[in-house]
Symmetry: none
Subunit: 210 residues, 4 copies
């Protein structure tokens, strides 16, 4: 591979290779997917791979990052315009679950990455970003007393783990709920965990006292 300016056809080819690779990585994991599998499924010769990519590892990282950004964008779109922090959290959770359902292979890819020690840092970093996004909303909610006091980042990590766990269960077919029901379940599970219901009860009580 050389630093390069690609023609239109070149960009297309590169894109094609990435997309085939993503599928294969998602399905079989990093080690089990050989360079030759990728080029074969794109119908080109082995040597061409190195025209477009530096090596297998770099390609993998690139794919992972792209997947992560896609997910982030999906969340941003879902939250857009929503001001209430609790609702932002809820919508973000639902968007994650939906994204995973719709892009199962990106999700699998992400999981597969997390399974390779070489990429653990990358995934850790992604989860961190994710957690930070969530933590911001939690902090805002705490600020407005919609949630009881607590460390936003710490709580956010719990939420992220929960969402991923249920996305996994859903993808593996272990849960036979429809997507809407699952979203509703996970959202309320997380809100309870964050203490939203206690606050609601307390508020009611407070209001009653007046």
């Amino acid at each position: 591979m050389t630093a390069q300016r690609l023609t239109r056809q070149g960009r297309k080819r590169r894109q094609q290779l990435m997309s085939e690779a993503a599928k294969l990585f998602a399905h079989s994991g990093y080690y089990a997917t050989r360079v030759i599998d990728i080029v074969k499924s794109a119908g080109v010769a082995k040597g061409l791979f190195y025209w477009y990519f530096e090596n297998k590892e770099t390609l993998f990282r690139e794919i992972i990052k792209a997947a992560r950004d896609d997910l982030r964008r999906a969340q941003a779109r879902a939250i857009e315009g929503e001001k209430d922090p609790i609702k932002r959290i809820s919508k973000g959770i639902a968007a994650s679950l939906r994204f995973n359902a719709e892009n199962e292979h990106l999700y699998l890819l992400f999981r597969s990455a997390g399974r390779q020690d070489r990429f653990a840092a990358l995934v850790e970093e992604s989860q961190q970003i994710h957690a930070e996004d969530t933590a911001a909303h939690i902090a805002a909610a705490i600020e407005r007393s919609q949630l009881p006091p607590g460390d936003p980042m710490l709580l956010a990590h719990g939420v992220v783990a929960t969402v991923f766990q249920y996305a996994r269960l859903s993808a593996s077919g272990s849960v036979d709920m429809d997507l809407d029901a699952l979203c509703e379940f996970v959202v309320s599970y997380c809100l309870r965990a964050l203490g939203a219901s206690e606050v609601a009860v307390a508020r009611k009580k407070a209001r009653a006292l007046h």
Copy 2:
């Protein structure tokens, strides 16, 4: 390797190899740990590995299962004699966190396994077993109205994911709480998620009405 009768020395050697292997697998992962690394770190010849184990993969699985069983035993010991379902859940969570803290390398090993596609099923299975253990207590708690109604397995999966997430954060040094504080935090987080606090509030209210 062949079916065999081991002498005391043999059992010792086998044990030694397993333990060296566990450390290496935990530290470097399955692929990066070569058979030769294992025997070298035990100070014996290559061929001896195959006297005791069928192959690298089988050994790895064996180690994973042993680790899983160790964790389970630790939980069982912690819960022993405790009748109250909610307390069983709480003690189980704390035991898991403690076990991970004390046996960091077994924990890392477990994670490493989850990262290899070849062993995904094994880890999945372990998580399932784990979730079932937890689900039993949740069901009992619901039965006694200590928790609001819900699908025990579904809820259990959320708990398991949460516990593992925080064990991970703690192991990676991302949380600077001491172990006791962490246990307390995770326990209350999970109980809230399961709805324990709502029930408590409801009960209080009920009692107040009389």
Copy 3:
């Protein structure tokens, strides 16, 4: 190795490897010939072997089959245009002996194969094909009363064994006849065994009676 389109150079290289391998297998046998010996004697890197062949065993089988077909072709060429069954048998026998004399290494290869249990079936099969070729001529000769009645396949096996035995003796230098004399000897030996001379005598007698 993967299904592939070979360039001219590729076909040439593949051919070269096969031919080097054939020599080595013939000389040292299957087990004693290592993949590295083959590539070394072709002056290429180890990995290239697996670009052209699936593995050592497959290559060996391929070579054996090629040798068998070569022999068959040599026989076919020798018989071509000959109508008389007895002469077809005779020419076939002579052609086999000549082929073995001229392609001693293919012959040795063939023997080497017969010596490996893994390939016994392959050689058995070849002998069968061989015997069938011969049996067809024997049947025709019986039909025309050039040979006394008998089971053609059964008789053919005797002929095949005899021919191979003498080819072996000749190759090992145990017989100090020239090739022509050997051919003559073996042909008449086999024809006698098939009963050709009795028939000839009977015919003479019959003619004498008229």
Copy 4:
């Protein structure tokens, strides 16, 4: 292994190992039969093998020689007391076929040996011995004008090959004759090949002329 005087039990054990080894070698061939297979099927530990035998190869040779001698003895017994050379040839052929039928595993062993380049000489030598036995009778028959003139060794090789070929076919189940019929067929096939029938015809004619 050390030069040794064995106790009664020792001789028994050694015999047992040889017999198990013979079966395994016959069934799977030299390379495919591992030392461990031998000791296992005798129910003893690996190390014991080297108490009784120098190594695998030596054992194999020993077994081969024993098998060859058994066959020779069987032939000698069959011929014993028979004075007529032609009948000695016939009885020898029949005895060989019968021996192979009755001791299929020794026969297979012998074949297996012939298939290994390391033992080719051993088998060649055995065939030579065999051929010499037969050649002696052929020479005697020629002497008495029971067979037409010819090189006895050369002819004997043809007979040996034929006998082995049919023994093989019979063992592999390719011929569905009973043993007696097969003996009769092979005997007359060989006698024809040696020219016995021509001589008989010539004699008849000669007698007629008087």
